[in-house]
Symmetry: C2
Subunit: 181 residues, 2 copies
């Protein structure tokens, strides 16, 4: 696959509590330990503080959120950084748009889509942020992806990670094996 030393965007997409952020940080650590000295995790929730405060959860706002993170990832990756983005990014069209933008500079393979394919039942069970519980109890006013808001899975992700069928370490190992040159 792509030589990560040239910079790349690893785009983790999936439902809330699928394990995107956990895997992004774990893989980032592994990359750093392996000697990659330019590694950044861009977390969708953190970005909402710094880049997209004020945006809501309509399709339009979600897409704008994804575009902004994608724009930053593009600049970083073309400067040799391995950027691990953990963002629900529920809509296929905008993910494909990011891929096209990344590759428009003639650098195929610089956008790597990683589908964290945890089924919604398992995500709801994990419920790291308590969002599924709040949705069930009627306490969450905003729409929740996978429950009452769409999630469009990738049709041709470079890597699909079944986190419900393996441990975190096994998932990281899977990613590592798939990504290393």
């Amino acid at each position: 696959m792509t030589d990560l030393h040239q910079g790349a965007t690893l785009w983790f997409t999936g439902l809330p509590s699928a394990g995107k952020t956990t895997l992004a940080h774990a893989l980032g650590k592994r990359l750093t330990e392996a000697g990659y000295d330019r590694v950044e995790v861009l977390d969708g929730d953190v970005a909402r503080e710094h880049l997209t405060k004020g945006l809501g959860f309509t399709r339009e706002d979600r897409d704008e959120n994804v575009r902004r993170i994608g724009w930053v990832a593009e600049i970083l990756s073309r400067n040799g950084v391995v950027v691990l983005c953990s963002v629900i990014s529920p809509y296929r069209a905008v993910r494909d748009e990011l891929r096209a933008r990344h590759e428009s500079e003639g650098r195929r393979g610089r956008f790597i889509e990683i589908y964290v394919a945890t089924p919604v039942e398992v995500c709801a069970e994990r419920d790291v942020k308590g969002l599924y519980a709040r949705k069930t109890s009627g306490d969450l006013a905003t729409p929740l992806t996978g429950i009452d808001d769409p999630y469009e899975p990738p049709l041709a992700a470079e890597i699909t990670v079944p986190t419900h069928q393996q441990t975190i370490d096994e998932s990281v190992e899977q990613l590592w094996q798939a990504l290393r040159p």
Copy 2:
């Protein structure tokens, strides 16, 4: 001064039409020619398309605009990129906030403030985007920095460039001499 090869944010502040973007691009080119392979110009106007669409020109919105660009610059510069930011950034407090954030990771000198100190009369004469003329004719509804909106010059910029007293080449040479290790 700072070793730019370690990454740094060069923050060009000044009035509209002061010459910030021109100098940022010219210095960026000079850096690239000198062998720096990670150089990015972040232009305030471009950022308004990608990062800050929807923000206006109140103090609050201007500060948020500056903070977002600063956040991106911080990530880039800590990954070894020389980031040249050309942003009016009229308020001193938020510029100082960016400096503090950049230096909070124990890397003094990573935020370099460049005051493009062109007087308002000269800026209005150049009027690259026609903003001063529109303001005079009453055609510009939003406040214009330096005319009916404040600009707070830096009190201790690392470099002050008097573009009204020298050519563009001389200004770039001044910056180059001040910045090279």
